[in-house]
């Protein structure tokens, strides 16, 4: 579904992405692990088109999208959420979701009032229910708490009804209850949706992942099932800070 081959990205002398190849099947849940600065977010930025790779190719659903713009990739069903909230802060949560839905459905170019379109109103309610924001729909984003903004961050990406969803540390900085709810959300997503998650919460990562990719210094150093990852001494060394017995 999403396949990247031999991606390289360098800022001057610094190689932030070094020969990264990753292939995610349709419906797969892939968790990307790695210490800070391993190039996880850079990889996401390259995949969605916010950064262009120095070399390498990216295919989405079989189509080469390497030269495509961010919006062209999004139109083809590639959505992402951000590690740092990237929302419409001066608008209400309802308006935020409406913008995402209208863009995805084409209502953004129509002369009709988006919020009077029953299909869109219904979809707003549906997404809001998914990310537990129903009772806050009419609050402006800048008046709601950090946690609610994290939920909206994921909600915006979900609202576009993507084929491939990239989530960059969706649970960073939120409480245990919310991590659990996010867990449930992940499990409730349609099985044909392809999901890539950068995650620091190990329990969550190992529980939801079909496959785990570990990055270090911009390179893929490990790829395998959650079980293999847990057992891997290399991963223990670089990521979990454990000692190497081998």
């Amino acid at each position: 579904m999403l396949e990247a081959r031999n991606l390289h990205k360098a800022f001057g002398q610094v190689r932030v992405t070094n020969d990264v190849s990753i292939a995610v099947e349709k419906g797969e849940r892939r968790v990307v692990l790695g210490p800070n600065g391993a190039g996880k977010t850079t990889l996401f930025n390259i995949l969605v088109g916010e950064l262009s790779p120095t070399s390498g190719t990216i295919r989405l659903g079989g189509e080469d999208v390497t030269g495509h713009s961010v919006e062209a990739r999004a139109k083809r069903g590639l959505a992402r959420s951000y590690q740092k909230n990237n929302l419409f802060n001066d608008l209400t949560i309802r308006d935020n979701l409406a913008l995402a839905i209208a863009t995805a459905t084409g209502a953004a170019s129509r002369m009709g009032d988006t919020l009077r379109d029953p299909a869109i109103v219904e979809r707003i309610e549906e997404v809001a229910a998914r990310v537990n924001l129903r009772e806050l729909l009419d609050q402006p984003v800048d008046s709601v708490s950090y946690g609610a903004r994290r939920q909206l961050e994921v909600g915006l990406a979900l609202a576009t009804n993507p084929r491939v969803l990239l989530m960059d540390e969706p649970t960073s900085g939120v409480g245990p209850e919310m991590i659990r709810a996010f867990h449930d959300l992940l499990k409730s997503l349609p099985r044909d949706l392809t999901v890539l998650i950068i995650e620091h919460d190990m329990d969550l990562a190992f529980d939801v992942a079909d496959q785990v990719t570990v990055l270090n210094y911009g390179e893929v150093v490990f790829e395998g099932t959650p079980g293999d990852t847990r057992e891997s001494s290399l991963v223990n060394e670089i990521y979990l800070g454990g000692s190497v017995d081998a």
């Binding site: 961010v70 919006e71 990237n86 001066d90 002369m111 709601v144 946690g147 409480g175």
Partner: protein
């Protein structure tokens, strides 16, 4: 997001009705002022559409206003084309120029956007100023007024021409409000709020910005055709950067991003200009002081401040939390 609130409806209706009523009491000069206010209302609405809602602070709206006036003037005075055709032609010309400027500038933002629009505006100004065929710095006279005798109206009559201008101002407001209420208008506000995220959601942002600029250009050109008809004369002075600056002053004076505010600002501006210039030659200074006051006192503009006070009579104190977080906190406090 734009909402046609009751406050907005009451204000715009009262404003336009007040202008229409005033033409009955005022003499010829007073009516001329109302006509000027009416086309400035349209120009200010057109600028607020892109600046207030789209976040595109344009310094070429004076030039688009001038394009509208000149296309109308050239067609009626030089080619003897009926004003009924020249008027829509001028609007289309403004839209095309707006689309072009919007498309070229859509990649830039902030100060670079402002400077690029200024450059476009000055290019048009200098072209007209130097072009003898367009009358150069002398301008063009012999501009016709639209013939509405088939509606029983005499446009040669200053009162009836003032009504006509007020009706067009009302129409311009209705069009702008309809655009802003639509999916397109909401998307425009989304671009102002967070252009990068709109792109990430899959929106071809540059196309939307260009189309918004085209709609705005059409309205600005309409304002220009009224100005050309009022004095039956056009000159490059009406399209220089001073005009663009004045339009921006009006928008800020009334309230950027409120749509009704700029309309109020236009009337306020003409009133200030007229009243204060009777007292002192330095009326620009007084306008300047009022502008500084507006900016210092919360930057909402005359109408924007009133609207803010009406809408925020009760403000929530604590940040709203989702049910989950509340649960999280409860859990923590029990632990």
């Amino acid at each position: 997001m734009f909402q046609q609130t009751r406050t907005k409806t009451i204000t715009i209706v009262l404003l336009l009705a007040g202008m229409a009523l005033y033409t009955g009491f005022a003499g010829f000069y007073g009516r001329e002022l109302i006509i000027e206010a009416a086309y400035l209302v349209i120009l200010a609405i057109s600028l607020d559409l892109v600046a207030g809602y789209g976040g595109m602070i344009s310094l070429c709206h004076g030039a688009i206003f001038g394009i509208g006036a000149y296309v109308f003037a050239v067609l009626t005075s030089m080619y003897d084309i009926s004003p009924l055709i020249a008027l829509p032609a001028a609007i289309v010309a403004g839209a095309i120029f707006g689309l072009f400027v919007g498309a070229v500038t859509s990649k830039t933002s902030g100060i670079f956007f402002i400077m690029t629009t200024l450059a476009f505006g000055q290019m048009v100004y200098v072209y007209v100023f130097e072009n003898r065929a367009l009358g150069g710095d002398d301008g063009l006279s012999g501009v016709e007024r639209i013939d509405l005798s088939w509606l029983g109206l005499d446009m040669g009559n200053s009162m009836q021409f003032a009504w006509f201008s007020i009706v067009l101002a009302g129409l311009a407001y209705v069009v702008a409000a309809a655009v802003l209420r639509s999916g397109f208008g909401r998307t425009l506000v989304g671009i102002r709020s967070n252009e990068g995220r709109m792109r990430a959601l899959g929106l071809p942002v540059r196309r939307y910005k260009a189309v918004a600029f085209a709609i705005s250009g059409a309205l600005a050109a309409l304002a220009g055709t009224i100005a050309a008809q009022q004095t039956m004369f056009v000159s490059p002075q009406m399209m220089g950067w001073m005009m663009s600056g004045e339009a921006l002053v009006i928008v800020i004076l009334g309230g950027l991003g409120t749509l009704v505010g700029p309309a109020v600002g236009a009337v306020l501006f003409v009133f200030l200009q007229h009243e204060v210039s009777e007292l002192t030659r330095y009326w620009h200074m007084i306008v300047g002081i009022v502008l500084i006051l507006v900016v210092v006192l919360g930057n909402r503009g005359a109408y924007g401040q009133i609207e803010h006070m009406i809408m925020h009579r009760r403000r929530p104190v604590a940040p709203a939390k989702s049910s989950l977080e509340a649960a999280s906190e409860q859990e923590e406090s029990h632990a």
